[in-house]
Subunit: 361 residues, 2 copies
């Protein structure tokens, strides 16, 4: 079996380069066929690597002095960041020296550089950021999480397809269920964009042209409930929903911790329940879900949380590895070509009910 090479931005994230090197070593233990191209300042990376001889054996260090800071402006990075560890790691994917890239660096810059270097795949208008997280019933995916502040109906339909393919791999579900995120107040239910996207997905679904179970609209509380495997929304709402989940989880664990610290009995109770509570903590551990993919560009680009540690970074590498192994890019190409045929068939049968024309396809 030929090895899988993953390019790593050695300098991205709050705890780089340490968390990157240590995370890579953890990932190496899980995936024996992985190889790394590690981009960054060799004077900082070499001493770190020397502590991990097994990692060093599967890693090629590519020295570069530039790096992207956490508060770097996108415009500046595009102009002058082309020799940064992040840009060069992306270039490794572009030039087929690596099959995926993972970075904990500045999200906006990573998206911009990746889009600039890799471009969107044929037939895809805009890329979308997608990740998975825990729900009551298991796990769900959501996109877009911030790549596009506004989306048209066409883009939302494309995100639905991208999310469905991602979910099939990330969740291991054969025919993912999918919902469009909407609001519950009837008077305002659905912008025209959302309604158009829903009608198109509905039409394709009725003609068995979708490999997903389209459930129509879902609301914010359906995310945690796990009502569907994939939640599709624009990047503004998606980003707010994702960060709201994060904030609410912190809120609850804060008050929970305070409750256990309240008195002798509650502390004792905590001690007894600790093993079970640790399992609860593990289920919710954001590091387990670390790694968001920029779907729709010509290459596998995984964004790791800037504040994550080695365990989180290893999970992000794991996601990249899984996407390479499952050949997500080929799946996307294939499904989008079928989707275009489906839309064309829908247009030719058009009885005035479908919206493929309205979508400008």
């Amino acid at each position: 079996m030929s090895p899988i090479t993953i390019a790593l931005d050695g300098m991205g994230g709050d705890f780089a380069p340490q968390a990157v090197v240590e995370g890579a070593d953890l990932a190496r233990e899980s995936f024996p066929d992985v190889r790394f191209l590690l981009f960054g300042q060799s004077e900082r990376l070499t001493p770190l690597l020397s502590d991990y001889p097994s990692l060093m054996a599967v890693t090629e260090l590519v020295n570069c002095q530039d790096s992207i800071s956490n508060d770097e402006k996108v415009a500046k990075a595009i102009r002058s960041g082309r020799q940064s560890s992040m840009a060069l790691a992306i270039d490794a994917v572009k030039h087929h020296r690596a099959q995926a890239v993972v970075s904990s660096g500045n999200t906006g810059v990573l998206m911009a550089l990746a889009l600039f270097a890799l471009r969107t795949m044929p037939g895809i208008d805009r890329p979308a950021i997608c990740t998975s997280f825990p729900t009551i019933t298991g796990r769900a995916c959501m996109l877009d999480l911030g790549a596009n502040i506004e989306c048209n109906a066409n883009q939302l339909v494309e995100f639905a397809l991208l999310g469905e393919i991602y979910a099939r791999i990330a969740l291991g579900v054969k025919r993912p269920s999918l919902g469009l995120l909407n609001v519950g107040v009837e008077q305002v239910k659905g912008s025209e964009t959302l309604k158009t996207a829903a009608r198109t997905l509905e039409s394709l679904s009725q003609q068995n042209r979708l490999e997903m179970d389209f459930k129509g609209f879902v609301e914010g509380d359906d995310i945690g409930k796990g009502t569907v495997d994939v939640i599709v929304t624009d990047g503004f709402s998606g980003n707010i929903a994702l960060k709201t989940i994060e904030g609410t989880a912190k809120l609850l664990t804060h008050h929970l911790r305070q409750s256990f610290a309240q008195n002798f009995l509650s502390k004792l109770g905590y001690l007894f329940a600790r093993a079970s509570l640790n399992r609860f903590r593990d289920t919710m551990d954001p590091r387990r879900y670390n790694g968001a993919m920029l779907l729709g560009v010509n290459g596998i680009v995984v964004k790791s949380h800037g504040g994550t540690d080695k365990i989180g970074f290893a999970h992000a590498i794991g996601e990249a590895y899984q996407m390479v192994k499952s050949d997500i890019q080929t799946l996307i190409s294939h499904e989008f070509s079928q989707f275009r045929q489906g839309l064309a068939a829908l247009s030719s049968k058009d009885d005035g009910q479908t919206d493929s024309m309205a979508m400008g396809i």
Copy 2:
């Protein structure tokens, strides 16, 4: 002291009329100067009321046969629901027979009927739904939660003022801090609408023309953190954020409950910690935060959660009571008139940096 009269939609909500009558009786215990106008089918309400003689003594029952169902369409309700318990309860506020109205009925219909009957206050473009919820540091308010699917900058600035006044009463904070909800990815940071609203609030703030501490943009995770007292956003994002909080809270409590049920030790731990965990549950209890206000119309309109029980409904009545006592409507009138003066002053000093013109004011 003259009594405060609150109109109640006796037929709204999943557990009406029982939860309404029982909730009113609980509220009566807390607020001795409250009186009720109770709208609904007398053949259903009279037997219920007869169990609560003290409530009956302060309640005037207004018989009406019509009621708004939970899945009633707004358009239909506007046409044919004008004699419903909800519409007549709102009319009681319009005709000054009551100082506030509380309903657990269909949100969209309540908004539409209230807007139709009461109209927006002078100088206010659109009403907004506002509520408060727990945070790490205490409690925060958010608006709009669904009255407006899209908002312009002018409306967001108005929501900021409405939210500030609401927070001063609901949270008891003298000078509430306030943030505009935005996304964190730099590339897409802020639509033009958000940027314009931020610049206007910034300008007014610098001239000490705001009775709030404007903090600029906040993100989804700031909601739970309690970074600001008031979060301002459009009704689409606000609704999604609020429901995402709800879903995430359910997710965490579900897994927590499962952890405690796991084995003998965890069950024992739960028993020891129960008193403290009950306090945790109470802190998070959505019934304690029940009651969302439709701000900006000529009257105090409080929406209670459709699925709440008597305790939740009593809290919604409590919110209405508090808003009447604090004379929120006069505060809004006063502050908006000052705000218009402030904007005018800003325009006359305009050095090209402010956006009052761009906002069409």
